[in-house]
Every structure is written in C-alpha cells, then in structure tokens.
C-alpha cells in the first residue's frame, strides 16, 4: 500500500469519525446516541484548544492533555495532523481535488506555488494567543517569590535568558546591550502602567478560526439541523439556531475558496496549522529531495497540498505531510528523510520579527479595548443567560472555544450561539433562549457542562444543580430570575384566566405563586335581578355569552350584599343564571344590580425560589414577546448579580 493510500484512509477514517461524533452527540441511550462515545476527542487532540486555555487560565483541563500527544508527534514529524487527521483539512483537500480535476499541470503548479500571504496564518495565531495571554502577563509582572520552587523557576528562566543573551552578545555587543535595556524598560513600563489599570485582560478567541471547533460548530449548528428529517432523524423536534448565518457563511467561504487555491484555509488562515508549522521546526524526519536525480519536472509541485514548493527550496512549515510529492515523483527523488531537502529548505515560518511584535501587541491590546464596553462588569447584559454551571463571565470568556457542543447536546434546543449580545468577545458563545426549543432548561439535566471540553460550563453533578446533598447549604444553581410583565400577562392585563407559568414551574415549592382577584366583566349594560328560584337567578339585561360565562371561572355578586362571597355560575339559560350554590336566597331583592365577575389567579415570582430555568417563559401563551421572561438577575455564577440577601 502506498503512503498516499494510507494517508487517504486515515483522512477518511478521521473525517467519518468526526461526523459520527457530531451525530452521536445526541442525548439518549440508543447505540447511536451519547453513551460514552468520546465525542470531544478530536477537540482534545487539538493542541490550540489546550494551549489557548492554558495561556488564558493557567490550567490544562482534563481531556485537553490529549493535545500533548499531538504536540509531541508534531515536534518529531511535522504537520501530520493537517495532512492525516484534520477533518476540516480533509474536506478542503477533497473539494480542492474536485475543483482541480482535469486542470493542466502548469495551472496546478501555479495554484500550488508558495505565496507570501501564507504568512498571515502565523500572524493570526500570534494575535489570538496574545489576546488569551493578558492575565498571564499580569501574573508574571506581579509574581511574588514566596516559595523555593518559584525562586528556582525564576533563576532558571533568568539563566536561560542570560545564556541566550550571551550568545547574541557574541554576535553584536551593541545590539545585545540595547536589547537588554529595551527589555528592562519594557517590563518596568508594563508593570507600572498595568498596575490597577485596565491594560491587561484575557479572552480566548482561538475558537473563531481554530479548524476543529469551527468545523464542530458549523456541522452542529448549520449542517445537521438542515439534513435532520425523516431519513436522517437525529432530534425529536427540528432544531433552530437564530443568528447562525454568519457562521455558515464563514464555513462556505472557506470551502469555496478551494476553487481559487486548494486548501486555501489551511495555507492562509488556519492558526492551528501555523502552530504546527512552528512546532515542527526541528522535526527529525521531513519531506524533501535526495541529492541527485531531480529533473526539475515539477510533478511534485502539481499535487502539493501545503504549497511548500518541494521542487525547489522547500518551506517545511507549510508541508502538511500529504506525501503526494513522493507518489508524483517519477525519479524517486522525493522522500521522507532525516536530512533536509537537497534542493534547500526554509524551516522557519514566514513571519518577520516586525510582524510578530506588531500582531503580538495588537492581540494583547484588542481585549482590553473590547473590555472597555464594560460587559464583564457594570454594563453586563441581563439578556445573556448562560447555561447552568457556567463560570463568571470573565472566566467564561477565558475558556469558551465556541465549539457548539453544548448547543448540540442540549436536549431542548434552548442553548444558542450569541450574536453580539455578549459583546464582541462573546460571539457564538452559548446563551439560553427560552422562546425557542422544546421546553426551558430542564432541571434534571446537566448534559452541557459534562460535555463542555474546556469547563467554561463546569461539569456539575445533579446534586449541585439542585442544591441537594452536600450542596444543600449553597442552594440550587440559578441561571436567572423570571419577571412577570404585567402589561402583557393575560390575568394581569386582560382579565383572562391563565397561569400556565405557575403550573409549569418545576421547582418545589413552586417559585411562581398566585393571588386571587375577582374583577367585574365588561357587558353591554346593567343586569337587574328579577327573582330567585332555587339555584336560579332570573335576570333582566343584555344577552350573556353562555359559552364563556359557564366555564367555571365566572361568578355572580349582587351589589350591596358585600358580606356574601361571589357565587360560581354553573350555567346560563334563556331566562337566567344557574349558580353552583345559591347564597342569595332571601338575601337579595328584585331590582338589585347583579355584577358578573371573573376569578383571576395572578402570578407572582418568588425570587428566592426561582432558578431561571425558563420553562415558564417557554410555556407562556403570549407567544411573541412573552409575558413572563427570564433575565440573568440573581444568577449564581456572578456574585455581583445577586438580587437577594
């Protein structure tokens, strides 16, 4: 079997595995549903997820350690992930192959030549990682030496820096001293400027362009909901995700750009590929030419996936190890060796020091700029309701990679990707939308936190969510509080009995309770009592709508008989009103004015019981803008949003 066939099998395998993981991320016990399938494995293997969260939080969460395996193999072999494993790369390769079938060799060689723009992905990587590193820089600037281990660590770092500086000093003493002075001034200025200021902040935005979260998100939110139907039946109710147009547009743009340049995304945009390009600088084995035999026929360039120009000076950070050049070469010149390509090799990524520093500074400056909007502080948006178990907003934004796994697994389809309501940083992060989906956030469900690959939504236990057992003292997790809109609520504003919200409140005792009120109904004129026979009141007045008034919610009162409680209407006949029980016998007289009342149960929310699950909002019959709505007030994840004592 040729190496290219092996590579193709690997790509197809991982592509199908990826699709399979997307499909089985469905809550249920069927063999094709989530029952232990490692659906996050590809995300965990993606070291950009691990590195990004490590920079942003100082921790590497559980399964993300898998990324270390990818890193180690990449250090030894180069970008194997891109050519052999990445499902997004496989898709691009397939589309590029389709688009270029039958093209002349010269055209394909031209399409696959190296372009300066391929350096852009390194700039994107540096930008995104710098944006995630603000907190880390702050911590390093304010490190206090309180343990021998820390002191040893600092001494080690200093030694490395001095050794590096000494090497540089051999080359140019002047530049060396200038560099040291500049660095010292830089650190001093940074530590002074950033103390107590807003100049440092961290936000994890790698997921915007990181291919694995991007592909997961796109398939989860824009492709599966489209094909989900009778043939491929994944969800009980078809899924909707408002605001995913831009998400889909980004995906399809990436796909169609393969028509212009094969693997366009991988070559120009992919920050993960850029990371691999940097890591593979010292790869022990690498693609390249042998010393003799090359006829400069260019066949290797024709099928080159990375645009690394194996025919001439090979740019090894661009090589995705597709091995097409090995198969294409008719002179057996191309191989995978321990030595560099005989025709020459450039093993450093194409990003100048100037570009590196500029993008680093831009990334580090972008997040503080975004934070000036105040959305992680005073200007927090109460419409941003995060899934139960979500961290406080600042920490949340340091972990969420926008992969959409929580939205995919949510059994009720209430988790949606945010547009700009959570700020520019919060784009495509999960928010709860109770107007959509099959029900609110189910009280007995903890799926999203247990699927979240980065613990932006913590993996809570059911006891913690409900505030039971060892979590009794903390109380339940609240995602917000429901507020009754009395101007829209049927019993409050429109004299119609309802209280669907109270019935559906899943908390025990219920967070929604009611108070009773009798209100006179509107009629075309006065009703006067003519006489009483048994349970029947004979009346004179406008025609009464019997189908409405005999429903059990309507009552009769007689003016001036205040001490007699309203009596329920059992039936309306041609000549009068039949009461369920007649308290007026002997207590009312002919000519008394009769008032018809509707009994209303008006809903109130007890904020100490409400958990913000949104079932009430989902069920409210005022379907457009609901008459009871949840906002993030009193959510447990942010102490500052506390409403009660």
């Amino acid at each position: 079997m040729s190496i290219v066939t092996a590579r193709r099998i690997s790509q197809i395998f991982f592509f199908l595995l990826f699709l399979w993981f997307c499909i089985v991320a469905t809550l249920g016990e069927q063999w094709w549903q989530l029952r232990g399938w490692p659906v996050n494995w590809l995300i965990q293997l993606d070291p950009l997820v691990g590195l990004g969260t490590l920079l942003a939080t100082g921790t590497l969460y559980a399964g993300l350690l898998w990324g270390l395996l990818t890193v180690i193999v990449t250090i030894l072999l180069g970008r194997f992930f891109c050519g052999w494993l990445c499902p997004f790369g496989a898709l691009h390769q397939a589309v590029g192959w389709l688009a270029n079938r039958g093209r002349k060799a010269s055209m394909m060689i031209a399409a696959n030549r190296y372009r300066r723009g391929q350096g852009v992905k390194y700039a994107l990587l540096v930008f995104l990682l710098a944006a995630a590193a603000g907190d880390l820089i702050g911590r390093l600037l304010r490190v206090s030496i309180d343990s021998p281990a820390k002191a040893a660590g600092i001494v080690a770092v200093m030694l490395v820096l001095i050794a590096g500086a000494a090497r540089a000093a051999k080359r140019s003493v002047k530049r060396w001293t200038a560099g040291i002075v500049m660095a010292a001034i830089g650190v001093a200025a940074l530590s002074l400027l950033t103390d107590g200021s807003r100049l440092l902040a961290a936000s994890l935005q790698t997921g915007l362009l990181d291919p694995i979260p991007l592909f997961y998100r796109t398939v989860n939110l824009t492709l599966l909901p489209l094909v989900d139907g009778r043939l491929i039946s994944i969800s009980a109710a078809s899924r909707l995700y408002p605001g995913v147009f831009a998400m889909g547009a980004l995906f399809w743009a990436a796909v169609f750009l393969n028509l212009a340049v094969p693997r366009f995304y991988c070559r120009f945009v992919c920050p993960l590929g850029a990371l691999f390009g940097l890591l593979g600088k010292n790869a022990l084995w690498r693609v390249g030419q042998k010393a003799d035999g090359c006829t400069a026929c260019g066949a290797c360039d024709r099928y080159c996936e990375g645009g690394c120009e194996p025919a001439t000076v090979l740019r090894s950070p661009e090589c995705v190890l597709c091995m097409n050049c090995l198969a294409a070469c008719r002179h057996d010149v191309m191989g995978f060796h321990q030595h560099a390509s005989a025709a020459g090799e450039i093993s450093v990524p194409d990003i100048s020091r100037r570009e590196f520093v500029a993008t680093l500074a831009a990334g580090a400056a972008a997040v503080p700029l975004a934070r000036l909007a105040g959305m992680t502080g005073e200007a927090w948006n109460p419409a941003v309701i995060r899934p139960p178990g979500s961290l406080a907003e600042g920490e949340f934004l340091q972990r969420c990679i926008k992969c959409g796994q929580c939205m995919r697994i949510c059994p009720t389809n209430v988790i949606h990707p945010a547009g700009l309501q959570a700020g520019i940083e919060g784009i495509w992060t999960p928010v709860l939308n109770f107007r959509m989906g099959t029900s609110g956030c189910q009280q007995g469900c903890i799926a999203c936190g247990n699927l979240c690959p980065t613990a932006a939504i913590r993996p809570i236990a059911l006891d913690e969510r409900l505030g039971k057992g060892t979590f009794q003292s903390r109380g339940p997790i609240r995602t917000g509080t429901a507020f009754v809109d009395r101007g829209r609520c049927l019993p409050w504003a429109m004299d119609r009995p309802c209280i669907v919200c109270q019935e559906n409140c899943p908390v025990s005792p219920k967070a929604i309770f009611t108070r009773e009120e009798y209100r006179p109904i509107r009629l075309g004129g006065d009703i006067r009592l003519q006489g009483i026979t048994g349970n029947r009141l004979l009346i004179e007045g406008p025609v009464l709508p019997s189908d409405q008034l005999a429903t059990g919610d309507y009552f009769v009162a007689i003016d001036g008989r205040r001490n007699i409680p309203p009596a329920r209407i059992a039936d309306i006949g041609s000549s009068g009103i039949t009461l369920a029980d007649n308290p007026f016998s002997g207590a009312a007289e002919k000519g008394d004015r009769v008032t018809l009342l509707v009994r209303l149960q008006q809903p109130y929310v007890d904020p100490s019981r409400c958990i913000g699950c949104g079932v009430c909002e989902h069920e409210c019959p005022v379907k457009g803008r609901r008459a009871i709505r949840v906002t993030a007030e009193n959510e447990t994840r942010e102490r500052r949003h506390r409403l009660l004592l």
Binding site: L60, L65, I72, H337, Q338, R637
Partner: protein, 331 residues
C-alpha cells in the same frame, strides 16, 4: 543514485532541540494539568481584619450639649462637649492617626443639612490636631459622585484649611471583609485602606429622617464604608445597620442635632425639611447617641428597630439615661 549524507552535527542539534521541545511541552502539559476543572467559587478570598477602635476606659461616656436653638455655634459646642468628657486628649493620644468618617453622602450644600457640616468637621479636626494627632484623615464612600460630594458639601475646603487629608474612595482602597457572626457583610468590599492606616476612628453624622430605616444617625453613617452593590442591603436595613455596628467599634461619635432633617430624608433638598433642634451629642456609645437623636426627630429609640438590634450585639445601650449623661448648656 547516491544517498544524501546526513550532516551529523546538524541532525544531532535538531534531535537535541526536538528533545528539549518535547520535554518542555510535557512539563507544561503535566505541570498545569487540572483533572477536576474550576469549582465556580471564585473570589471568596480571606477577609481583612478591622480592629476595635474603642478605648476600654471610656465606655459609656455621653455628653448632650444644648445651645441656642437659632444660630448655634457648632465649633464652640463640640469643643465644650468634648471638654465635658475629659477633653479630646482622653480620646486621641499624641502621635495617633485619626480617621473622621463624615457623612458626605450627597452632593448638596451644607445649608441643606444632608451632610456633615464643614464647621463641625473643621472643629473636630482642630481638636484632634491640638490633642497631638499626627494625622487626621477624612473619608466616606458617598452615594453621589465622590469628588462632587466632598467639594459641594464644603468638607473638602474645610479639611484642607485646617490641615486634614481627604481620601476620595477608589477601587484600590477597598478590601473584602466578613463580619464575624454576620449574615449580610460576608466577603464584601469595604473601604479598608483608610481604616488600616488609622489608630482612632471618629464618626460624624447629622440627625436625619430616613424613609427606610426610620432615621440616619451615627450607626447608619457606617454604611458609607461599604462598597459594591450595597443597595441590595436595603432589603434588610435594620440587620445591615446592626452588622455595621458589629463591624466598627468607634473611638467616639459626634451626632450633630444643631438642626435635624425631619422630612424628605435622607436627601432633604429644601430648608423646610430642617428644624433647628440646638443639640449636639458626643458619645463613645453610638447606640446611646442614636437613642438621643431619635428624640430630636420626635421619635423614640423603640421606634427604630436597629437600635435594639445593635444593643443586642453589644454595640451600646439604648437606655442612654442609664449612662448618666453629662448635659451641658452652651450659650
């Protein structure tokens, strides 16, 4: 066809660098590995400690000074009142640093009586400095914009004239604090830096009507040391005042009833909200001081639930007559 010879030196160098890279990646990965994830309980740090500023020998001292109802001289009255309790020297020792917690809650002029009067502030500062205080600091975390409050109340000008320092609150001066045995003040931001830098604390408050708590006097005045979204505490105003009484054990408090705000409190806004009551109270017992003040508002200590609550936690005595107050007349 010949094999390309491998440059040994180059290859070994690459092996070394790759080896170091793998080791570094491994060290980072395992070094920062976190199997359980965050606990979601961020921010619950250790609480700072606020010392007891009271003087043991001076417990239960109370002086009620009465002056002419119209145009009482605050400076002369407060001087006489302190004199009656043994002089400021009994409270402030030479070299001590004194913090005056004034009421600068609103950006309104001193004539409207919503804030501590600058004449009184200046007089107390002078007394402290004359007693040998090394430094007098004035602070409050007001409701309106802090800088405007200190400027418009006249407190800033008065303080600078007599050589006191005004600390305008900013984020860096707050620390999280928990009242031992408290229910509300838990892990809550408190204007701590000026407290930490002081040996004595003197509370300075006007007598005011307060719609929620009944009255705002020396105990309610400590509310101005709280930071954060403190307005949620209004849901249980009497308990928060009780906990404030537990939080701050002052050296002495000065309750200014030269005039009292009887209506439209605590902001006032009109001269017709004020009534001249010609009384000034100096006390080491803030509960007793407030009990006296309640009467100036035409109420009794029993009308103000927080007074009994503060008494219950040992912050003072509601029955101020049992303290055998010194009552003086200042003409």
């Amino acid at each position: 066809m010949t094999e390309t010879p491998i440059d040994r030196r180059e290859f070994l160098g690459r092996c070394t660098r790759a080896g170091f890279s793998v080791a570094a990646a491994g060290a980072l990965g395992f070094g920062f590995y976190d199997s359980s994830g965050p606990d979601g309980l961020s921010g619950a740090g250790a609480s700072v400690k606020i010392p007891d500023f009271s003087i043991p020998d001076m417990k239960g001292k109370l002086c009620i000074a009465r002056g002419t109802v119209q145009g009482m001289d605050r400076a002369a009255t407060v001087r006489a009142a302190f004199e009656a309790l043994g002089g400021m020297k009994a409270f402030v020792k030479p070299g001590e640093r004194v913090l005056l917690k004034v009421n600068a809650a609103f950006a309104s002029p001193p004539t409207l009586g919503a804030t501590s009067h600058p004449d009184l502030v200046a007089a107390v500062v002078r007394l402290c400095l004359d007693a040998g205080a090394s430094r007098v600091t004035i602070t409050d975390n007001p409701i309106n914009d802090p800088a405007s409050c200190f400027a418009l109340t006249g407190i800033d000008t008065a303080a600078r004239r007599v050589g006191a320092e005004v600390v305008v609150p900013r984020e860096a001066l707050f620390e999280r604090f928990t009242v031992a045995g408290g229910r509300l003040i838990r892990d809550w931001p408190v204007l701590y830096a000026p407290l930490a830098r002081s040996d004595r604390i003197i509370g300075l408050a006007p007598v005011k009507d307060h719609h929620r708590s009944g009255a705002s006097m020396t105990l309610k005045n400590w509310y101005g040391l709280l930071g954060g979204r403190r307005n949620i505490f209004h849901q249980d105003i009497h308990t928060i005042i009780q906990e404030l009484a537990m939080m701050i054990r002052p050296t002495v408090v000065v309750l200014d009833g030269t005039q009292s705000m009887l209506t439209n409190g605590p902001t006032g806004g009109s001269l017709s909200d004020l009534k001249p009551t010609g009384t000034l109270i100096v006390s080491t017992d803030p509960v007793a001081a407030d009990a006296v003040g309640a009467e100036l508002l035409g109420r009794t200590a029993a009308d103000l639930p927080y007074i009994a609550k503060a008494e219950r936690v040992g912050a003072g005595t509601a029955d101020y007559r049992s303290l055998n107050p010194k009552e003086i007349q200042v003409s």
